[in-house]
Amino acid sequence: MLADDGSLIERLRTGDDFAFEELVEHHAAPLLAVTRRILRDEEEARDAVQETFVAAFRSIGDFNSESRVSTWLHRIAVNCALMKLRVRARREKDVDALLPSFEADGHQQQSSVSWPETAEDILQREQACALVRQCIDQLPEPYRIVLVLRDIEQLPADVVAEKLNITRDNLKVKLHRARQALRTLLDPHMRGVM
């Protein structure tokens, strides 16, 4: 635990209102970024941040002093956002149409072409983040959420599998398919360098 985190937690435990305000002001923005990525709905994302702080305050006694406050809040925010996601009735679609197809002899039907610039170079462009975000948002929900939790939030595979109630093997397959589908969606933009 960081020294600053330690004193903040102690003040929260004693009911210091200024400590709660400090916690909110310092952590609300990064948590909102997390819930926006998971929920893709501004109102729901803000609600999830509110619920995160309420849940955090209620469970302040359970805070493990070995942890960082930011990591603890991140875990609560992911849980709050996933709870909201579960109650949405979303039609599950598959990503088959976005996966590469093959000839009978196992070769790719359409040859893949290298992208002329690296991700690092592409991300220097102003519109790049929005384009990547738009393509991620086009993925069917079960694939999008796996990509967000593993490749963006970088949660461990065991944790994600448990949260989504799927096996580790199923998670691995879904992540690979999600990355391939996203590659297909990005491909025309990256070949022409946007």
Partner: protein, 80 residues
Amino acid sequence: MSHVTCIELIAFLDSYVDDELDAETRNGFDLHLLVCPSCRAYLASYRETIELVRGAAEREEELAHDAPAELIEAVKKVRR
């Protein structure tokens, strides 16, 4: 694994990228990549896709310095 085809390589590309394959299978994949420019391009763009996802999220967080004021106030009100 000898005579790896594109379909086999792409099916296990995540394991190749994450270095989870045994040495013999990995060698088979490496040999295929040497002779197949299409799979080399696919592998490179698959890796760039992962980098783009992570990089774009990091850039978004850098730009999102402040949470909306009304959200901060709403959260604080819950405590009052």
